[in-house]
């Protein structure tokens, strides 16, 4: 990677190896996330994208390799210490707290008292539905509302980097559109590392991409180069793109 050592990186991952139990899940993932960008991680199911996010956050700590965030080595630190350095996490299964109300789900993410009040306008501006549902317990929300809550929760404290895992999974098309708008909006203030199976969404949002395959990072670069490279897309991402027409559509929209 040409720009791996540039000062401009908020996050730099160098050759991490992660094991879960006996299984060697990540066998050398390297990536970099420049400040102020949206970078998307692509790859087939089970390639190791989610584990990469969890390794960065310290939830599945890497056994070897380096993770440099904001100029500091963070590998080996406890997850809550890493999160408190300003990293927000939106997990793939949403993982909102079902027995807590919407308000409590947001409140629990506060790192300092008043975090929620400070960012309430921004959050409810992105997701007006949540303000209406504020008293409802989490298990009464629909899938889309849960996803919005999960993203909103990551916006409560002052975060420099957001790790967002599959925000479009299981959402209706109209909600995907809304989610995309929200991510585009929040990325103006925050750097985003995104995992996204929906290639249309990924290609429209992200400036940069990283392809993970079989636990290794195999390719990275600018999104606008990737959409031109049909062979590469088919080789690594074939499964995640449904039809030939869909792909054509993407090319047209980018052309």
């Amino acid at each position: 990677m040409s720009d791996a050592n540039s000062e401009n990186n908020l996050l730099l991952v160098e050759d991490i190896n992660t094991f879960i139990g006996q299984f060697h899940i990540l066998e050398g993932v390297s990536l970099n996330v420049p400040k102020g960008s949206i970078t998307v991680m692509l790859g087939r199911n089970g390639a190791g994208k989610t584990t990469t996010l969890k390794s960065i956050l310290g939830l599945t700590p890497p056994r070897t390799g380096k993770i440099i965030y904001d100029g500091m080595e963070i590998q080996g630190k406890r997850a809550f210490n890493i999160a408190n350095l300003g990293i927000g996490y939106v997990p793939e299964n949403r993982a909102i707290f079902r027995s807590l109300s919407v308000l409590e789900n947001l409140k629990i993410a506060e790192r300092e008292k008043g975090d929620l009040d400070k960012h309430a306008d921004f959050i409810f501006g992105l997701f007006p539905d949540l303000e209406r549902l504020i008293k409802l317990p989490g298990n009464h929300l629909s899938g889309g509302q849960q996803q919005m809550l999960a993203v909103a929760r990551a916006l409560v404290p002052e975060n420099k980097l957001l790790l967002i895992d599959e925000p479009s999974e299981g959402l209706a098309p109209i909600l995907i559109q809304q989610m995309m708008e929200a991510i585009r909006e929040l990325s103006k203030a925050t750097t985003v590392l995104l995992v996204e199976q929906n290639f249309i969404m990924a290609s429209q949002l992200a400036e940069r991409y990283i392809i993970i395959d079989d636990g290794k990072s195999v390719k990275s670069g600018l999104m606008k180069d990737l959409v031109q490279d049909k062979d590469l897309i088919h080789h690594y991402l074939g499964a995640s793109i449904k039809t030939r027409e869909e792909l054509e559509e993407i090319y047209e929209s980018k052309a």
Binding site: R98, L100, E104
Partner: protein, 497 residues
């Protein structure tokens, strides 16, 4: 029929059945007997709740089934009883405890500097072992010649008035300061070395926080000063406490017992349970073993005898108080409730259980800690990812649970015989309560505990009335559990997995 209707129907049925049972009991037993037996049931239920509440919180958050909970209940009773009748032992041990924890915390505070040491590989492996060995030697030497048994020695107090006539009769002399002074110092060194043996100098993979060190030194320094003070007041403090008004002394006993429970719970969680979270079955075996260790230590210190703790003066005067106010003025042993004579101390136990339930409810619904606990029950990993130190929350909840058990122990002290097995029955009933109420639900624990208390009390009453075996009363709680599990396998307030 949707979920909501179904739930309403179930709740309605449960309430209807409960009312029906109580009405039937009322007419069957007659008004006076009913009130007396119901109050006895609430007393038992309160104690069950104090055990089950902690069990269920701990299980809900950490999936830890603490089989040592009954022993912690018993330990709470012993500590409170010792402070109430003979604080010599507690004050004799206090300087050592404080000095040891001061040593441990000192090393922990300077740990970030220790792990930056550049040491050869051989030393890194050898140093912890050597320091642990030295710590052990210092620990043993500091106790050689100290008459621990003598300090713990307390005569059986058969009559409630025995201590009232001469409260200082129980006190045994402490070692003179000229012989004693080196013991806390040695144990301070021992504590520092124990912590050092686990701190892995030179281990760069550990994260060293760049914090202001002088702030962290405040706590060990404070503890050290407290240890010095404790050394100096070993003789005078027990006397001062024993000459106090018995009611105040009892309140102090409760506070000391609860604080002991909180600290003991935190220490157990950090040292013994934390390394085993990845092996849940080991935790069960460990807590089971721990309960035996605690019981044997207690037998060693106080002999396997049953002691009778004197009731505090507020509950001790013979005679029956006609109403609440005259009881509070005269401190009668019994009180008249709707024509029924009932021991006043048991009312206090009921109050204790209800207050604790209110406290837990407020803690869980209104405080940030409660919010974190409720979230952690569902997904501890996500809570950690939000920047919350889940491990320290685990420690707090475990400490809270053990503190509650200790409160139950000292609460039970004045009306149960204090003996090493006293917690066993409460552990069993506590576990049944947790199953009935639903794992992890404190509301379920409260309702389940009260139901079990009632079942025991009425079971005893009917067994006596119809000259049946009292085993029926003991079996009744298990029968209730079976019925509840058949109808709702997740317990009354449990959530389906």
């Amino acid at each position: 029929m949707n979920q909501k209707h179904k739930r309403m129907l179930t709740t309605g049925m449960i309430i209807a059945v409960t009312i029906a049972i109580f009405t039937a009991l009322y007419f069957w037993a007659g008004q006076q007997t009913f009130i007396r037996t119901a109050l006895s049931g609430l007393t038992l239920g309160s104690l069950f709740f104090l055990v089950a509440g902690g069990l269920t919180l701990i299980f809900g958050l950490m999936d830890v089934l603490n089989f040592a909970h009954g022993s912690m209940f018993m330990l709470g009773a012993y500590i409170g009883w010792q402070l109430y009748t003979n604080p010599t032992f507690i004050f004799g041990m206090l300087p050592q405890m404080l000095a040891f924890s001061s040593g441990v915390l000192l090393t922990s505070a300077i740990k970030p500097f220790l792990i930056r040491w550049e040491l050869p590989e051989r030393w890194i492996k050898l140093l912890p072992k050597v320091s642990l060995l030295l710590a052990l030697v210092a620990f043993v030497v500091s106790f050689i010649g100290l008459d621990i048994m003598g300090l713990a020695n307390t005569a059986m107090v058969a009559m409630t008035t025995a201590t009232a006539s001469n409260p200082l009769a129980e006190i045994s002399p402490q070692e003179a300061l000229s012989q004693y002074w080196y013991r806390p110092l040695l144990i301070f060194v021992s504590g520092a070395l124990v912590a050092f043996s686990t701190s892995k100098p030179g281990d760069k993979s550990q994260f060293a926080l760049q914090e202001n060190i002088s702030k962290k030194l405040l706590i060990p320094a404070g503890l050290f000063i407290l240890a010095i003070i404790a050394t100096l007041i070993r003789e005078s403090a027990p006397e001062a406490i024993l000459l106090m008004n018995g009611n105040w002394r009892f309140i102090i006993a409760i506070v000391v017992s609860v604080i002991f429970g909180l600290i003991f719970g935190a220490v157990i969680e950090i040292t013994l349970i934390r390394p085993l979270y990845i092996r849940p079955t080991f935790i069960i075996i460990m807590t089971l073993g721990l309960s035996y260790v605690i019981r044997e230590l207690v037998q060693l210190l106080w002999d396997p005898l049953a002691y009778q703790m004197a009731r505090p003066p507020l509950f001790a005067q013979p005679g029956k108080a006609p109403d609440l106010i005259s009881w509070l003025q005269n401190g009668n042993a019994t009180i008249d409730i709707a024509g029924v004579t009932f021991p006043t101390y048991r009312l206090f136990v009921i109050l204790l259980g209800i207050l604790m339930f209110i406290f837990i409810t407020i803690l869980m619904t209104k405080s940030r800690l409660g919010m974190i606990i409720r979230a952690g029950v569902q997904d501890p990993q996500m809570v950690e990812a939000l920047g919350i130190n889940v491990k320290s929350v685990f420690t707090m909840v475990f400490a809270l649970g053990v503190g509650m058990a200790a409160l139950g122990g000292i609460g039970a002290g004045p009306f149960l015989p204090i003996q090493p097995m006293m917690g066993d029955q409460y552990l069993t009933q506590g576990l049944i309560t947790v199953v009935i109420g639903g794992m992890g639900s404190y509301v379920g624990a409260f309702i389940g505990a009260m139901a079990l208390g009632m079942a025991r009390a009425f079971g005893d009453y009917f067994a006596l009335k119809y000259s049946l075996s009292t085993a029926i009363a003991e079996a009744s709680t298990v029968i209730i559990m079976v019925i509840v599990l058949l109808a709702r396998p997740q317990g009354l307030f449990g959530k389906k997995e």
